[in-house]
Every structure is written in C-alpha cells, then in structure tokens.
C-alpha cells in the first residue's frame, strides 16, 4: 500500500505524503474510501425507486451513453427514460448540491471563525427564497423561478457584504450581523408575497422553501455542474489559506495571507455555489452545517482535508436523503424535511458527546 502512495507523485506534490507521517496517509486512505462509498451510494440509489431496475440495467444504460461499445437502441425505452433521463440526473444533482452546500459550509465556518455558521448565514437562502417567490407569484415579470432565485440570492449576499464594508475592511462580526439583517428583510419580503399570493401559488412557495429534487434535468446539471466542480477545486486549493484565515485577521497578515483578499475570494465562490444550489433545489437545511463538522471529527480541522471530505459526505448524505424522500412513501417527501429530521439528532449527539473536541 505504501509503495503505491509513494508512486502517486501528484499526492506528494500536494503535500499529502510523508514517509514518517502515518496520520496523513491514513487521511488520504479515508478520503479514498469516502470516494468509493460515494460511488456505491450512487449505484444503490440508481437501483432504488418505485420502478425496480437491476444493477445490470443501470450498468448497461450508462455504458451505452458513456462509451461507444454499446448502442442506446439496445436498451428498452422505459429503462432509458427512467435511468438516464430521470434517475441519473437527479442523483448527479444530489451530488452537486451536496458538494456545493458542504464546501460552502466549510468555507463560511473557516472565514467566520465559527463552527456554528452555515452557508445561508449571509442571506443567500432568504434572498433566493424571495426571488423564487417573486417568480411564482408574478410569472409574467419573472419567467424563470431559478434565475430570479439565483439573482436575488446573490444580491442579498452582495448587499450584506457591502453593508459590512467599512473603510476598506469587512470585520467578521459586522459581516454576520449584516447577513442577519439582510436575511430578515428578505424573509419579511417573502412573507408579504405569501400574504398576497393565491392559494396555489402559496402552496408552491411553501414547497419550494422545503427544497426538493423533483424536477432534476440534464439542463440543471449543465448549469450547476461546472460551477461546483471549478469552485470545489479552487477552494480545495485554498484550503491551507483558509486554515490561516481561521486564526484571525492579524495573524493571517502576520503569516503573509491578505485576509481581505482571500476572504473576498472564498466567500464569493462559496456564495456562488450556494446560490446555484438554492436556486435549483430550494432551501435544504443542515447539510452545510453538519458535513464540515463530521469531516472535522473524522479527519481533524485542517481544511485541506475538511473540504474534500465534507464535499463527499455532503454528496453521500444528499443521495441517501433524496433516495429516502422518493422511496419511503408513494408520494414524494420534500428532501429538506428528511435532511433536518436525520440531521438534528446528529448535531445533538455531536453537542453532547464531542462538544468539547469540536467546539474547542
């Protein structure tokens, strides 16, 4: 095993290997096993559903679409529709959103130096909710719910950031306060829209707020996939800088990391992926708060490991929750409900058992 790691020059260049250091090699093994688990979870989720498919069907369908060795025409139309047009994009969207929320959570917790922060802290969710509600209530003016959710989610965070910026600096406490203020303003706006909405529109708003993957399509993947992928790698690469930022502004300066510059970069990227995720699937709670914690419990607080492991666990967690959401009952349960019901006890457990380790 160890020779194999030595042979991976990439890992060495990333600073992951050290002959004497068992702990880092163990961390890499954990990361790899998480990746394998993610793969298995995807496979299981592909099979599960109200229409039973076998793993062989899934394999053949994907083979047909990804490789030239097998023709799509050999697969029954039904299988092709269920596996390729419905289930697969939905699971890929699970993965993308899981990664997006988990890395955004890890980044926000790092820059705000607070392990209880979640990706919605700067108002991205309230802004997006307002945008979506606008789209639902006034479809003539805002034809796309997703686009208007994205625009207002980004506006909310940008306004919070500008509000907090005083004399070229954005102190963390001011930023969080600004986020809370902007968030509550947009929540009030959502309430106004709910109040004036028709019954059908109101129902739709409520459903949107609970989050769900019902309408996942390949178009969604094309929208969110590249953004999440690029942001993930950039943020992963900034993992070490994020460690430094979490020590506080003055120490970051002392250690040669410009806190304003890097805070702006990482918050922008984290907000971007959050806004994309929220605009596509609504507000899904707990993933962004919980996954970075779980990652820190398993691999320690070094963000070079927290970011990839949180991303993979976020993806796995959303696959599990969404599969439950679509299989537990005959009709679908909004996934936000499941993430919360599964997530809250876990955080209670963390607080009681590991509180001292994690919260310092």
């Amino acid at each position: 095993m160890s020779e194999w790691f030595q042979s991976l020059g990439v890992l060495r260049r990333m600073g992951y290997d050290d002959a004497k250091e068992v702990s880092e090699r163990r961390k890499v093994i954990v990361l790899i096993s998480m990746f394998v688990t993610l793969f298995l979870a995807t496979a299981v989720a592909m099979v599960m559903g109200s229409y039973k498919t076998s793993i062989a069907d899934v394999y053949l369908t994907l083979l047909a679409h990804f490789t030239p060795f097998y023709e799509v025409s050999n697969i029954s139309n039904l299988h092709n529709t269920i596996i390729w047009d419905i289930r697969f994009p939905r699971i890929i969207l699970n993965i993308c959103v899981g990664i997006a929320l988990a890395i955004a959570g890890a980044v926000y917790q790092g820059v705000f130096r607070n392990p209880l922060v979640e990706p919605y802290i700067l108002g991205a969710s309230s802004g997006a909710a307002f945008g979506a509600a606008l789209g639902i209530v006034f479809p003539a003016i805002f034809p796309s719910i997703q686009i208007s959710a994205f625009i207002f989610g980004s506006i909310a965070v940008a306004v919070a950031y500008m509000l907090a910026r005083v004399q070229g600096e954005t102190p963390v406490v001011t930023l969080i306060l600004a986020g809370v203020i902007i968030g509550s303003i947009f929540s009030a706006f959502v309430s106004i829209l709910k109040y004036i909405a028709t019954d059908t529109a109101l129902r739709e708003i409520v459903f949107w707020l609970m989050g769900g993957f019902y309408y996942a399509t390949w178009d969604d993947i094309i929208t969110i996939g590249p953004v999440v992928l690029i942001s993930f790698f950039v943020l992963w690469g900034l993992g070490w800088k994020l460690n430094i930022l979490s020590m506080g502004d003055e120490e970051a300066r002392g250690l040669g990391v410009n806190p304003e510059k890097y805070r702006f970069i990482v918050i922008s990227l984290a907000t971007l992926v959050t806004a994309f995720a929220v605009s596509l699937v609504g507000i899904i709670a707990w993933v962004g708060l919980m996954m970075p914690h779980a990652a820190r419990m398993i691999l320690g607080p070094d963000n070079r490991f927290v970011i990839p492991s949180a991303a993979m666990m976020g993806a796995i967690y959303l696959i599990v929750c969404d599969t439950l959401a679509r299989t537990l009952t005959t009709s679908e349960i909004p996934v936000g409900i499941i993430t919360s019901i599964l997530g809250a006890p876990y955080v209670c457990y963390l607080l009681r058992q590991k509180g001292r380790v994690i919260f310092g």
Partner: protein, 279 residues
Amino acid sequence: MLKVRNIHFNYGSTPVLRDISFDVDEGTLCGLFGPNGSGKTTLFKCCLKFLKAHKGSVRMNSTDVSGLRIEDMAKLVSYVPQEHKPPFPYLVREIVLMGRTPHLGGFFGVSRKDKKIALDALEMVGISELADRSYNQLSGGQRQLVLMARAIAQETPLIFLDEPTSALDFSNQIKIWKVMQTIVEDGVTILACSHDPNHVAWFCDKVVVMNENGIAAEGQPSDVISEKTLGKIYADICSVRTVDGVRMVMPKWVIEKNYGYIGNSVPEAGTVAGDGGNL
C-alpha cells in the same frame, strides 16, 4: 535592522502615538516597556501595518515597509500574538506549519522540507513531544511556546512578540525569555513588549521605555531601568536595588514596610546594596 521614524497615530481624534522614533540593531533582543495604555500595542500594530500610521516611516532590513505586500512582509517579520484559542482544534504541528505559509508555493505547497523545519522549530523551543496534541487543549504557557515555534519556522530576520509572558506563570515566563535569548544568538532581531520592568532589565539587550508622551528613555537596561525613568512613568512608586549584582525593581512601600527607610544597605549586608539614590 529596525528603524522607526516619527510615527504618529490617532484613534479618532485621540492621539496615541506622537513622534515615536527608535532603532533596533541586528541580533538584539529589544524590550518595549511601558505602562498599560502607553501605546505599546498600537506601536506594534503600526510597525506591522495592521494599523496605518498617519505619519512616519518604518524600515526593516533597510526596506521601507509601507510599499510592501502582505506576502513579502511576512518574509521579513513574524508576529507572535498573545496566546488565544482558535475556533478549531488544530494540532500543534499544524499550527507551527502555518509559519511556513509565506514560503509555500503551488497548489498545496506544503513540502517535506517545510514539515521538517516546523518540527525543528518545535525542538528548538523544547516542546517536540507536543507535536501531535491539540493546540486548544494545551496550557497557556505551552500555547505561547507553540506560537514562538511558529515564528521560528517562519524564518524571518525580525520577530515581534506582543506581551509574550503576560498570562504565564513564573517558570514559563523565564522559559519564554530564555527561548528568546536563544533565538537572538542566531542573529535574529526581536522586539518584545512587556510591562514587567524586571524582565526587560534582566533579559533584554536594549530597552525602549514608553509612556503617554512618547518615548521616555531608550538604551541599555542598566542605564534605562532606573528610579528616575520608572519614577517618570509610574509616579514614584518604584525602588531599584541591586541584589548580587542583579538589578531588582521593587515597590517602594514593600521596602519601607520591611526596613523602615529607603536608600541604605540592609542588615544582611554584602548581599543587598541599595543604590536607589544614585540612579
């Protein structure tokens, strides 16, 4: 090594620093000494560019720091803050490795050499055995030592320490000062602020004394830590004695309480000689 010239700084309209100038030579352990509120920390922050001085210049290694980028500045000077708990339980080795940040490059950049330098730094301050402990679970003294190891790992010619001993017990205070003396022997220049007159008198090569009006005195500890200077900044409450050739600063009333008078040798003669009057 360090040249501070005519620094002015106000918080709002309250002037904190007025026309501060001093020099520190290479390989010197310089103490910045003064009472609370005299602007030591503010001066520190102005030198490190955490705060922007309104007037004046700071040169390190004959480079004017005002034009330096944060990244380049960190190769010139390292900063040891007062010990505190970060929000995440980093390991000691990770904290020390953070000192290598200005020298890192590439995607992740942490190389084997950097890890080695970090471990060597831990060894230098004598806490190698703490490498795999969680930084948050250490005692205050141990955390301060870890932060010093981090500054050593940063390999800068100049180190600033902000009251490195203020929260520590007696033995840890002495340990920290000893480590600083070891670092200085390697040619590094240290500026440490402290509010203990004995510490700066015993351990420093040079002392800069500050009070509200600016620099009250500057020079060798034996010249500077005198009843005259201390009387200026502490309103005449200190008495300076020499015990076995070592200078001691004591509160006057303790001596009055024990011996009833000031300025004379005490009965156990030979060991204690009063020199308060001469200084």
